[in-house]
C-alpha cells in the first residue's frame, strides 16, 4: 500500500527531526531549531497526507471507513497527535528545546507501528525470537510489542459501525498526544529542577542549562494538560454516549472505561495539586508523568493484557 510507504517516510522524517533537535540542544544554535521545526512541519504534512491516503485506500477496497479502527491506525494517529500538539505549543511558546524530549514519543510510536517494514533478515530474527516465547497473556503482550501491529485494512465489525467512533477516537487520542507532551516537559522539569537544587549559585550548566527555566516548563506542562484534560473528558463522555447507544449502558466498569477514569482522576489530582501549597512543582511533575504512564496502560495495557469489551483495539 502506498500509504504505508508514506508512513515509513514519516518515521524517517521524525528520526531526522529528533537528531536535529539533539544538535540544536548541544550546539545551542537557533538556526538548527528553526530547521528542525521545518522538518517536523513537513513530517506532519506527509503524515496527514498518508492518513488521508489510507482512508482513500479503504474506499478502494470497498470498506470505506476512517482509519481509526485498530491498533495500527490508532498508533499512527497517536504519533500524529503528539506532533500536532508539540507544533501548536511551539507556535505559542517558541521553546523548540522541548522537541528533544517530545519528538522521540512520535518517532518511537511510528517506528513500532512500521515494524512490519523492517528488512527481511531483521524481521525474520524478530519473528523467530517472538515465536520462541512461551504462551500466556504477558508474553503475548511482549510479542505484540516486538512485532508491532499489523497494518492490513480490514472491514469494520458491526460494533464499530457508528459515527461516534470518529468523535470518540479523535478526542481521546489528541488528548493522549497532549499528555505525551506534558510528560516530556515534566521529565525536563525534574531534570532541570534537580540540577538547579544541586548547583551552588542556582546556575545550571551543560545541556540541562539550555532547557527552558522551570517556571516555563511548569507552565507548558500545565498548558498541555489543560488541552488534554477537556479532550479526555470529551473522549470519556462520547465513549459513554456511544456505549449507551449501542449497548444500553453508559458505564459498565469495563477495564477500558475504568482505566480512562483512572487517567482522569490522576490529571484531576494534578490540576488541584498545582494550586495547593506543598504539591506544586515536583509533585505536580510526578503526577503528570504518572498520568501519562496510566494513559499508556489505558491505551495498550488494557487491550493487550486485560480482557473486556474494547477488544477490537488488540489486533
Amino acid at each position: 500500500m502506498t500509504s504505508s510507504l508514506l508512513f515509513n517516510l514519516v518515521t524517517l522524517v521524525y528520526f531526522v527531526g529528533t537528531i536535529m533537535f539533539l544538535v540544536h540542544l548541544s550546539s545551542r544554535s537557533r538556526q538548527t531549531a528553526l530547521a528542525a521545526n521545518v522538518v517536523v512541519w513537513v513530517g506532519l504534512a506527509i503524515h496527514t497526507l498518508a492518513f488521508g491516503l489510507r482512508w482513500f485506500e479503504s474506499y478502494q477496497m470497498g470498506y470505506g471507513r476512517i482509519p481509526l479502527t485498530n491498533l495500527y491506525e490508532s498508533a499512527v494517529f497517536f504519533a500524529w497527535s503528539v506532533v500536532l500538539i508539540y507544533l501548536l505549543i511551539d507556535l505559542k511558546y517558541k521553546q523548540p528545546t522541548i522537541g528533544v524530549f517530545v519528538l522521540p514519543f512520535a518517532f518511537m510510536t511510528m517506528n513500532w507501528a512500521q515494524l512490519g517494514y523492517l528488512p527481511d533478515f531483521a524481521r525474520k530474527f524478530l519473528e523467530s525470537f517472538a515465536a520462541s516465547l512461551p504462551n500466556g497473556t504477558f508474553f503475548n503482550f511482549i510479542r505484540t510489542m516486538l512485532l508491532g501491529p499489523g497494518d492490513t485494512i480490514e472491514p469494520l465489525v458491526p460494533a464499530l459501525q457508528s459515527n461516534w467512533l470518529t468523535y470518540h477516537v479523535i478526542t481521546c487520542f489528541v488528548g493522549y498526544g497532549a499528555f505525551a507532551v506534558a510528560c516530556a516537559v515534566s521529565i525536563m522539569y525534574l531534570l532541570r529542577d534537580t540540577k538547579e537544587k544541586r548547583a551552588a549559585g542556582g546556575e545550571v550548566t551543560g545541556l540541562v542549562g539550555f532547557f527552558p527555566p522551570t517556571k516555563v516548563l511548569d507552565d507548558i506542562n500545565y498548558k498541555a494538560i489543560m488541552v488534554g484534560f477537556p479532550l479526555l473528558t470529551l473522549g470519556i463522555i462520547t465513549g459513554a454516549a456511544w456505549a449507551n447507544y449501542a449497548w444500553g449502558t453508559y458505564w459498565s466498569w469495563d477495564p477500558k472505561e475504568t482505566w480512562s477514569l483512572i487517567v482522569w482522576f490522576v490529571y484531576a489530582a494534578f490540576l488541584h495539586a498545582r494550586i495547593t501549597r506543598g504539591w506544586v512543582g515536583r509533585r505536580a511533575a510526578y503526577l503528570s508523568i504518572i498520568g501519562f504512564m496510566a494513559t499508556i496502560f489505558c491505551y495498550l495495557g488494557v487491550n493487550l493484557l486485560l480482557s473486556g469489551l474494547h477488544s477490537y483495539g488488540g489486533g
Binding site: 470497498g62 470498506y63 512461551p134 504462551n135 500466556g136 497473556t137 480490514e154 472491514p155 465489525v157 458491526p158 460494533a159 459501525q161 457508528s162 461516534w164 517556571k215 516555563v216 511548569d218 507552565d219 500545565y222 498548558k223 489543560m226 484534560f229 477537556p230 473528558t233 470529551l234 463522555i237 459513554a240 454516549a241 449507551n244 447507544y245 449501542a246 449497548w247 444500553g248 449502558t249 453508559y250 458505564w251 466498569w253 477495564p255 475504568t258 482505566w259 477514569l261 483512572i262 482522576f265 490522576v266 484531576a268 489530582a269 488541584h272 495539586a273 494550586i275 495547593t276 504539591w279 496510566a294 488494557v302 486485560l306 480482557s307
Partner: protein, 478 residues
C-alpha cells in the same frame, strides 16, 4: 487576627473542605479502581480457581510431575486467596461499601469546598477592590513600583492606554487625597468554571443513582416468528421484568462482507405490539436500537434455533431428478435405499455464494467422501460423476436474536451533567480571571506608579504576561 480555639465541628468542616482531602480522594479512587480491572468482576470461586490454573499452565495441560496432592494444595491456595479478596468485595468492588463510601467522601468534599468558597467568589465578582492601599500590592504575587515624570493626569492617560491595549479598559476611581486608582479585569466569569465542573460531577452521580434506583437492565432471546412480553433481569437470576407490551422478531439476518466470512451486520426485524395493535416496526442493528415506552432494545447476540431445513434436487445417474427435503445433519433418504447427509452450511463460500458440505451414504451404510455443492451452480455437481448429482434449492435456518434491554430514567440527568462538565472544564481552563490594579500618586514633580495584578488560575502564565506588561508600562511612562 485573633486565633480562636477551633471546635470539633470546625475541624470536621475544615477536613471536608480541604483541597488535600480532594487530591487524596482522587488518588485513592485512581489506585483502588485498578483492582477491579485486574480481577475479573463477578467471578465465582470456581471460575477464579480455573482462571488461576489457566494462568499457571497457559498451555492447558498440567505438568506430569504434578501429583493429586500438589494439585489440591494449589487449588486450596487459590480458594483461600479468593476468599481473602472476597472479604474486601474485590469481585464486585465498584458496588462495594468501601468504594461507594470513597465516592460519597468525594461528593462530600466537592459539596463542602464549593459551599465554603462560593461566597468569597461572589464577593470578588460583585465587589472588586477598587481603592487598594499600598500594603495590598505587597500581597500580590506580581507587583512593581515605578516613577514617572509628568502630570498625574498625563500619566493616568498613558497607563490607561497601556491597560486598554495590552489588557482591558480600566475603571478609574479618584481617592480623597488626589490619588488615582485604576482597576481592570478580564474574564470575571471564569471564577464559576470550577463550580460548574464540580456541580456537573454531582449531577452525574445523581443521574447514576436514579438509574440504579428506578432503572432496569435485562436481556431476552426471541425466536424468529415469536414474541415476548417480559425480559430476564441482568441483575438477579430468575427475575422477569414485565414490559407492558410485546415485541415480536419477524426475522434475523446475518450479513457478510462480500466474498468473506466477516460479519457486516446483525439485523433483527422487530415489531412492537401494544394493546393488540402493531405500533412500531423497526429493523435494528448494532448501533441502531429500538426505543419504545422508555425501554430500549439493543442487538446483542444471536444463535441458531434447531437444525436448518434443506430442499435438495437429487438426480440419479441416468434417472429423472427428484426433490427431497430434510434437516441438517439427518440422513435424508434417496431412491434405492441410499441417503444423503448435509454436515455444514456455508453462507458465503469465497466468491461463489452459499454452499453446503455433504456426503452420500450407500444403501449398506458406508459413508462416501465429503464434497461441496454451490447453490448458484446447480448443474455443477453432475461433473463429479457419482451415483447421484445433488443441487441445493433452498436452505432455511431459524435463528433467535439476543437483545439487551435497558430502561434508565437517569440517563438524561447524566447527559445534563456531562454537558455541564464540558462547559465547566472549558471555562475553567481557557478563561482565567485576571486583574490589574494601578495606583498613581503625586510625589513632588514626579508620579509614583504602583502596579500589581494576579490571575486566579495559571499564575505562572500570568506572571509571564505581567513581566511583559511591566516592560511596556515602563517604556511608556518614563
Amino acid at each position: 487576627m485573633e486565633k480562636a480555639k477551633k471546635g470539633v465541628e470546625d475541624v470536621v468542616w475544615d477536613f471536608f473542605c480541604s483541597l488535600k482531602l480532594g487530591i487524596s480522594t482522587l488518588i485513592l479512587l485512581a489506585t483502588t479502581s485498578i483492582v477491579g480491572t485486574v480481577l475479573k468482576q463477578g467471578q465465582s470461586i470456581a471460575e477464579y480457581v480455573q482462571e488461576r490454573f489457566g494462568r499457571l499452565y497457559p498451555d492447558g495441560s498440567f505438568p506430569p510431575d504434578l501429583t493429586q496432592a500438589g494439585y489440591d494444595k494449589l487449588k486450596e491456595g487459590f480458594e483461600s486467596t479468593y476468599r481473602f479478596y472476597d472479604a474486601f468485595n474485590f469481585f464486585d468492588m465498584y458496588h462495594s461499601w468501601w468504594f461507594l463510601a470513597l465516592l460519597a467522601l468525594f461528593a462530600m468534599n466537592l459539596i463542602c469546598c464549593s459551599i465554603n468558597r462560593l461566597p468569597h467568589v461572589l464577593k470578588i465578582v460583585r465587589e472588586p477592590e477598587l481603592t487598594p492601599d499600598d500594603k495590598f500590592y505587597r500581597h500580590l504575587s506580581n507587583s512593581v513600583e515605578l516613577t514617572a515624570t509628568g502630570s498625574l493626569s498625563a500619566v493616568q492617560d498613558k497607563v490607561a492606554q497601556v491597560l486598554t491595549e495590552k489588557f482591558a479598559a480600566p475603571q478609574v476611581t479618584e481617592g480623597e487625597d488626589g490619588r488615582k486608582y485604576l482597576f481592570a479585569q478580564k474574564s470575571v466569569y471564569a471564577r464559576f468554571g470550577v463550580y460548574v465542573t464540580h456541580l456537573s460531577i454531582l449531577v452525574i452521580l445523581i443521574g447514576a443513582l436514579i438509574g440504579v434506583r428506578f432503572g432496569s437492565k435485562g436481556y431476552v432471546n426471541i425466536l424468529e416468528g415469536t414474541s415476548v412480553d417480559s425480559v430476564g433481569s441482568r441483575e438477579g437470576r430468575n427475575v422477569q421484568i414485565p414490559l407492558g407490551f410485546s415485541v415480536r422478531c419477524d426475522k434475523f439476518t446475518l450479513e457478510y462482507y462480500a466474498g468473506t466470512q466477516r460479519p457486516k451486520a446483525y439485523r433483527s426485524d422487530l415489531v412492537v405490539i401494544d394493546g393488540g395493535q402493531e405500533v412500531v416496526r423497526k429493523s435494528i442493528v448494532v448501533n441502531d436500537p429500538l426505543n419504545y415506552k422508555g425501554f430500549t432494545f439493543y442487538q446483542s447476540s444471536y444463535g441458531e434455533a434447531g437444525n436448518g431445513e434443506l430442499r435438495l434436487r437429487v438426480t440419479p445417474r441416468g434417472g429423472a431428478p427428484v426433490e427431497v427435503t430434510g434437516r441438517m445433519g439427518d440422513h435424508i433418504p434417496l431412491p434405492g435405499g441410499a441417503s444423503v447427509a448435509v454436515t455444514k452450511y456455508i453462507p458465503s463460500y469465497q466468491n461463489l455464494g452459499p454452499a453446503i458440505q455433504l456426503h452420500l451414504n450407500t444403501p449398506d451404510g458406508r459413508h462416501g467422501s465429503p464434497f461441496v455443492v454451490f447453490k448458484n451452480y446447480p448443474e455443477f455437481d453432475k461433473k463429479r460423476g457419482d451415483a447421484f448429482a445433488v443441487a441445493l434449492l433452498d436452505y432455511q435456518q431459524k435463528f433467535y436474536t439476543g437483545l439487551q434491554v435497558a430502561r434508565d430514567p437517569g440517563v438524561e440527568v447524566v447527559w445534563v451533567g456531562c454537558t455541564l462538565m464540558v462547559f465547566g472544564t472549558l471555562i475553567a481552563f481557557f478563561l482565567s480571571h485576571r486583574r490589574i490594579w494601578v495606583t498613581l500618586s503625586a510625589e513632588g514633580d514626579k508620579v509614583k506608579v504602583l502596579a500589581g495584578g494576579n490571575g486566579h488560575r495559571n499564575q505562572t502564565g500570568f506572571a509571564l504576561f505581567f513581566d511583559e506588561f511591566k516592560k511596556e508600562l515602563q517604556e511608556k511612562i518614563s
